[in-house]
């Protein structure tokens, strides 16, 4: 797999196929047992903790649930990386935070606590926090889970707009085919821990492979079976077992 710089790359696939694990491998949260993952020239299998932290300052990540620090306000959450890594004066930090909050449309929510935010707002604040250090790479882990169509549309537009205006490299892990196809430049489709298809969204739609057709078409049965592997149905029903 090669993630193209400056583009939005989508990693899609059925649940449990290893999309989030791949993201954790890219960010060094999990070390690979074999193979090589290179991020900005660093081998993620061999990089030490200091090197990893240096690299992570060039990355931003949006977690599935936002992962906002619950004891800090929206403003303090976005200011958190700046306060931890820089000695900028409070006035400048305030301006930077308000700029990022304005970019995600939540400048007015700066004083709220995370518990007062809706799911979509929570995700947008987390996005503002992810871009506050001006990263080169932005990773999104299932950014649309549990969002209403309006919030989903907002996040979709933000992914594209932030990528283009800030010159980022974006990697989006998702299984929302239609939504992500609208903003992605290239797509990798994973199944069973392997890349089974890659290309632009239109190329993927035209792909005749059975697994791609099942995934893109949302078919219940196919290479990814509807039924979890089990013993023969009739024989199991006829067995005199009291429990499974």
């Amino acid at each position: 797999m090669q993630i193209l710089p400056g583009r939005v790359t989508a990693i899609m696939g059925p649940s449990g196929t290893g999309k989030t694990t791949l993201l954790r491998l890219i960010t060094g949260q999990v070390r690979a047992d074999s193979g090589t993952i290179e991020v900005a020239g660093e081998n993620m299998r061999t990089v030490n903790r200091a090197g990893l932290y240096t690299l992570r300052r060039r990355m931003g990540m949006l977690f599935q649930n936002g992962a906002l620090l619950t004891d800090l306000s929206v403003f303090d959450n976005v200011a958190f990386p700046l306060r931890e890594h820089t000695d900028l004066p409070a006035r400048l930090i305030r301006q930077l935070v308000l700029t990022k909050l304005q970019a995600v449309g939540l400048r007015g929510a700066a004083a709220l606590m995370p518990s007062e935010l809706s799911g979509g707002m929570n995700r947008r604040v987390a996005l503002a926090r992810a871009i506050v250090m001006d990263p080169e790479i932005l990773l999104y882990d299932e950014p649309f889970v549990g969002l209403d169509p309006i919030s989903m549309g907002v996040i979709l537009r933000l992914i594209r707009r932030l990528n283009d205006t800030l010159g980022l490299t974006s990697v989006v892990v998702s299984h929302d085919v239609q939504e992500i196809s609208a903003v992605a430049d290239q797509v990798f489709l994973l199944s069973g821990g392997k890349v089974v298809a890659k290309g632009t969204p239109p190329e993927l739609r035209e792909n005749p492979t059975e697994i791609v057709r099942q995934f893109v078409g949302g078919l219940a049965d196919g290479p990814v079976p509807f039924h979890y592997p089990a013993a023969d149905y009739f024989s199991e029903l006829m067995t005199r077992g009291e429990d499974t």
Binding site: T27, Y53, R56, M61, F63, A67, T70, E84
Partner: protein, 255 residues
């Protein structure tokens, strides 16, 4: 054979756990100097662990002191030495009851709060988010909580003993009629610095043990509702056993 295997497996697991706790402690010690630079975070945790535990510690101290005054008076009266109530209560509180009961209450109030807070931070990806922001959660979150709790424990134990003495005096002097002068003068004459020192050492050791167990259990909690619950329970149970074990150990050392 299976019993021997079970015992052996449990023993190995316990040793592995002990090793993991030691590694965790070393990681904390390594980042402590830089964590000390952010003293405001430690002060905030002294408030969370210490100040918020004050009411329960003071209430418990008062009642324990009152019981001590009542029981002590009844026993000492049999030997006609009820005037020694002050010194008996003071030594009991300073050397034993103050550090031990404070530590047990501390594990139940502050220890569980620490473990569940860290466990929830793990379950909601807050710790992972910090790591992704290149912020070491051990330095930013764990060490300030650990130090805050370690600093709070001896202070709470001292307050417990003081309030306990007041409770013993309330019952012994105000209600049972022990002479006030004898109560205080015998206490001053009978309590030495080594008694206070023993209580201080115990409360510091119990504080380190309780806080380490709480932050370890919370930090490595399984990120589920059941996992956080288990971490909280383990914090209380392990802390109680460790406190009583160290209490015996330190008492025998100081004899």
């Amino acid at each position: 054979m299976s019993l021997i295997n079970d015992v052996r497996r449990n023993f190995v697991e316990a040793l592995e756990e002990l090793g993991a706790v030691a590694r965790f402690l070393v990681r904390m010690i390594v980042v402590t100097p830089s964590a000390l630079l952010r003293f405001d975070l430690i002060v905030q945790q002294i408030f969370n662990s210490g100040a918020l535990s004050l009411v329960i510690i003071m209430l418990a101290g008062l009642f324990v002191g009152m019981v001590l005054g009542l029981q002590g008076f009844t026993v000492l009266q049999r030997f006609g030495s009820e005037d020694s109530l002050g010194v008996a209560a003071a030594i009991g509180l300073l050397k034993e009851l103050g550090p031990v009961i404070t530590a047990l209450l501390f594990a139940g109030r502050a220890g569980t709060a620490l473990a569940s807070e860290l466990g929830l931070m793990r379950a909601t990806d807050q710790l992972s988010a910090m790591e992704m922001m290149a912020v070491d959660p051990i330095k930013r979150v764990v060490v300030p909580r650990f130090l805050g709790a370690v600093i709070s424990m001896p202070l709470l134990a001292a307050i417990f003993s003081l309030i306990g003495l007041y409770g013993a005096q309330l019952i012994g002097v105000q209600i049972m009629g022990v002479d006030s002068g004898s109560f205080w003068s015998q206490m001053r004459a009978g309590v030495s610095f080594s008694d206070i020192y023993e209580g201080l050492v115990k409360s510091v050791v119990f504080g380190i043990a309780c806080s380490l167990i709480a932050v370890y259990e919370g930090y490595y909690a399984v990120p589920t509702a059941a996992g956080v619950g288990r971490a909280t329970t383990r914090t209380v149970v392990t802390s109680a056993v460790v406190i009583l074990f160290f209490d015996y150990l330190l008492t025998s050392v100081f004899l």
